[in-house]
Subunit: 125 residues, 2 copies
């Protein structure tokens, strides 16, 4: 695993470690109140919306592995893999903009298809 | 856009620029013959399999924007957004392992759900 060290990377990894451990309070302590999160279902604004989006998934994790983390003074990019009972491998990537020591913007990429199939939201045609 | 400069980043970005321009030959010139690509549908081995997976998507792109690119001596992580007629915003992230100046391993993360819906492979339940 490649992991760079800048204060912004530290902030992003503190967020990542906390939510993948199921501790949303500690995760959101790293996040600006007016955070903007671009996620596959759409754009969320504010920590309450972020908690509502990440909380159920964070609570379902059975494992999490950080694959890479790179960044500079204000941007951080990570890739990780996760597992939960419904989806045994659900990798994701997140691009963070960090401002004044807090995460101001997050762009999340992951594959919704196995989750949508597992939940029965979609079915094979 | 944040973009670091290492030889491995240069290799990964040459691959990325080429395939997003639809030039699979130039892209695959950056890739080891026995490349292993971990993609949402499964693991592909070899440049022919990679061409078969990336080619149709590369040929369909109407735009592509690199959002961030970071790396060190042998790993590179990028995030980008793409558009094609079926999916107006299809962001992706790719983690590359570069060995001897060629891409030896790729891990791709993107959201298959809008593509599966657009193709009719799945339907809303």
């Amino acid at each position: 695993m490649t992991e760079q060290q800048t204060p912004a990377v530290d902030t992003a990894l503190a967020y990542h470690r906390a939510w993948t451990a199921g501790d949303l309070d500690a995760a959101l302590a790293q996040v600006a109140d007016d955070v903007v999160c671009h996620a596959p279902p759409g754009t969320l604004t504010g920590t309450d919306a972020l908690r509502g989006f990440m909380g159920p998934f964070a609570g379902s994790l059975t494992s999490s592995t950080l694959l890479a983390a790179f960044g500079d003074e204000d941007q951080v990019l990570i890739m990780y893999d996760t597992a939960n009972p419904a989806v045994p491998s659900a990798p994701g990537a997140e691009l963070y903009r960090v401002h004044d020591g807090r995460i101001a913007e997050i762009r999340i990429v992951f594959d919704r298809l196995p989750f949508a199939l597992a939940r029965g939201d979609v079915v094979q045609a």
